[in-house]
Symmetry: C2
Subunit: 133 residues, 2 copies
């Protein structure tokens, strides 16, 4: 797996779960399907759990399942849960020079604005939408 592998893994898992929402899947199973490691799966899906998209159950016969129906999980939910931000949130480096600062502010402002529209548009598609085609 390469870049954006978290997103790929998340979408992979969600799309499979959408096909059989009642079944619990273990991280080992998911990892085998995705060609990666159970720990990596738990890391990535952990973020989706924190975002309220998935539920994990510990102990014997535990595993992972959707926290709500696929019709109510959008691509934006996934994107936001993974904290994939376009804009480098850290602006620790306040440029000393005011003109450079103004330029950078401008770029940052536009990027943040554009990211809002990205999330908005991703919010228009649900996991279930894509399955139906």
């Amino acid at each position: 797996m390469k870049r954006n592998s978290r997103l790929a893994l998340a979408l992979h898992t969600l799309s499979h779960m959408a096909g059989d929402p009642n079944r619990l899947q273990t991280s080992a199973e998911i990892a085998a399907h995705a060609g990666t490691n159970p720990v990596v799966v738990r890391r990535v899906l952990g973020r989706l759990r924190e975002a309220g998209l998935l539920i994990s159950e510990k102990g014997h016969s535990g595993g992972w399942r959707l926290a709500r129906s696929p019709q109510h999980i959008t691509l934006a939910d996934v994107y936001v849960a993974l904290e994939e931000s376009l804009v480098a949130s850290e602006e620790a480096e306040a440029p000393s020079c005011s003109v450079e600062h103004a330029l950078f502010e401008r770029v940052t402002h536009v990027m943040k604005d554009v990211e809002k529209s990205l999330v908005q548009r991703l919010g228009e598609t649900t996991i279930a939408d894509v399955r139906e085609r």
Copy 2:
């Protein structure tokens, strides 16, 4: 310097050059201002040169200057020259599973679309614009 430092360095340099377009600046000078290394400066500005934004002159009393007036250099020109792409262009990993593939396609499509509007909006601001404020 941290993340997006190429962009920061490019904007820094361009904003200074816009103030005195006739003066040639050496990479050593620019590096000193920006708190980095001449080689790094030549790397980054090299991209702007390839994009036709800057001109570099070799030899004694050589250096860097704008290839055209600051009114005709937009933030989009800089962004594109640095090849800052939001979308991971490499889709080498064709997902085996068709549903996952459809989901990923959808995300990629939206991101590419959004990036177009980003470039369009960055194109509305020139280096000179920001200086005037």
